[in-house]
C-alpha cells in the first residue's frame, strides 16, 4: 500500500503547476492604477480666431445706419469696429457697432440674438467690404461675456461665403469704458 502511494507521489512530482496567484495579484495592481488615474475628459470646444496684432486703422466716415444702401459707393475701411463697455462687475454695459448702440445692459440670450441679427444684416449686404472685426473691449469685461460676442462675430458670413475668423481685440483706454 505504501509503495503504491509513494509511486503516485513520485508521478505527481513530474507535473508542472503554474501558480497564477502572483500574476493575478500583479494584474490587480495594474488595474487599480488605471482605475485611479482614469479621468473622463471634460467636454470642451474651441472657437478659432486669427488675431493679428492690432494695427492703426484709418477711421473713415461710416453711414450711421448700417442698413443703408446708398447709390453712392462709400470708400470704406474693411474693418468693422465694435465697442463694448463694462461695469465694475464685469458685465457688459453697452455694445456699439461703429457709432450705433445696438445693445444696452448685460448680455442675456435675447440681446445676443439681437446683436447677431444686426450683424447678419450688415454682412448680408452683398457689397459689404468688411473682412475683419475689431472689438474694442473695456478691460473690466469678463471673459465669458467677451466669448458671447466672439461667438456672434465668428458666426457671421462674409460676402465670399466663408465665416468670419479675423477678429482682433484692443483694450479701450481707461475712462472710455464708462
Amino acid at each position: 500500500m505504501k509503495r503504491r502511494r509513494h509511486r503516485h507521489a513520485r508521478a505527481k512530482q513530474g507535473d508542472v503547476e503554474l501558480n497564477l496567484a502572483a500574476m493575478l495579484d500583479m494584474a490587480f495592481q495594474l488595474l487599480t492604477f488605471f482605475i485611479l488615474t482614469f479621468r473622463p475628459a471634460p467636454v470642451e470646444g474651441q472657437l478659432a480666431v486669427n488675431l493679428p496684432p492690432p494695427v492703426a486703422q484709418t477711421k473713415v466716415e461710416m453711414p450711421t445706419d448700417p442698413n443703408a444702401e446708398g447709390d453712392t459707393p462709400v470708400d470704406t475701411d474693411i474693418t468693422l469696429h465694435m465697442y463694448v463697455t463694462a461695469n465694475d462687475q464685469g458685465d457688459a454695459q453697452q455694445v456699439r457697432v461703429e457709432n450705433n448702440p445696438i445693445s444696452v445692459g448685460p448680455l442675456d440670450p435675447g440681446k445676443v440674438q439681437m446683436i447677431n441679427k444686426r450683424l447678419a444684416t450688415v454682412f448680408g449686404v452683398q457689397t459689404t467690404p468688411f473682412d475683419r472685426i475689431q472689438i474694442a473691449v473695456d478691460g473690466r469685461l469678463r471673459y465669458e461675456e467677451l466669448m458671447k460676442l466672439v461667438d456672434v462675430c465668428t458666426r457671421q458670413k462674409k460676402s465670399d461665403g466663408s465665416y468670419m475668423q479675423k477678429v482682433s481685440f484692443v483694450e479701450l483706454p481707461q475712462g472710455q469704458g464708462q
Binding site: F38, A41, L51, R140, F169
Partner: protein, 148 residues
C-alpha cells in the same frame, strides 16, 4: 481521469485573469495623458456652438491655462509667459518646426481662461503671444455646463 481527491479542489483562475486583462486593456486604451495639461480647476465659459477643433496634421498647439488672477499655467505649473514662449520658440527651431528668425508662427495657441478673467489680463497674455509671432488662436469653452 483526474486523480483529484474529494477535498482540496483548486479554483480555476484562468477566466478571472482573462477578465482582469480585458479591463486593463480597456483602461490602457482610454487613458488620456494629455489631460494633465488641462487645468481642470478652471471654469470655462459655456458656449453651445463651440466644437472641438482638429489639430491633427498641423503643429502641436500650445496650451495656456489662465486663472482668475491672470496667472498663466502650463502643465499645471504657473509660468512666466515670456520665458515660456521664448523657450517654446527655441524648441521649435531645434526640432525644425519653425525657421530661425521667422516672424510668424503657424502654431495654434489654445487659450483656456476662467470665465471670470477680466479682459485686460487676457489681453496681456494675447499681446505677449502676438509679440512672439503667434497668430492663430483657439479660445476654449465648454459645450455644456458640467453636471454638479
Amino acid at each position: 481521469m483526474s486523480a483529484s481527491s474529494g477535498h482540496g479542489s483548486e479554483p480555476n483562475l484562468t477566466p478571472i485573469l482573462d477578465m482582469v486583462f480585458q479591463l486593463i486593456t480597456f483602461f490602457m486604451l482610454v487613458i488620456n495623458f494629455k489631460g494633465a495639461s488641462l487645468d481642470l480647476s478652471l471654469k470655462l465659459p459655456v458656449l453651445g456652438s463651440a466644437r472641438p477643433l482638429d489639430t491633427k496634421g498641423g503643429p502641436e498647439p500650445l496650451l495656456l491655462n489662465i486663472d482668475t488672477q491672470g496667472r498663466v499655467k502650463m502643465l499645471g505649473t504657473p509660468v512666466d509667459l515670456e520665458q515660456a514662449l521664448a523657450k517654446e520658440a527655441r524648441y521649435r527651431e531645434r526640432t525644425g518646426g519653425a525657421k530661425k528668425g521667422e516672424e510668424e508662427s503657424n502654431t495654434p495657441v489654445i487659450i483656456r481662461a476662467d470665465r471670470l478673467v477680466p479682459f485686460h489680463l487676457l489681453n496681456e497674455t494675447i499681446k505677449t503671444c502676438q509679440k512672439h509671432g503667434f497668430r492663430h488662436y483657439q479660445l476654449s469653452a465648454m459645450t455644456r455646463e458640467e453636471a454638479q
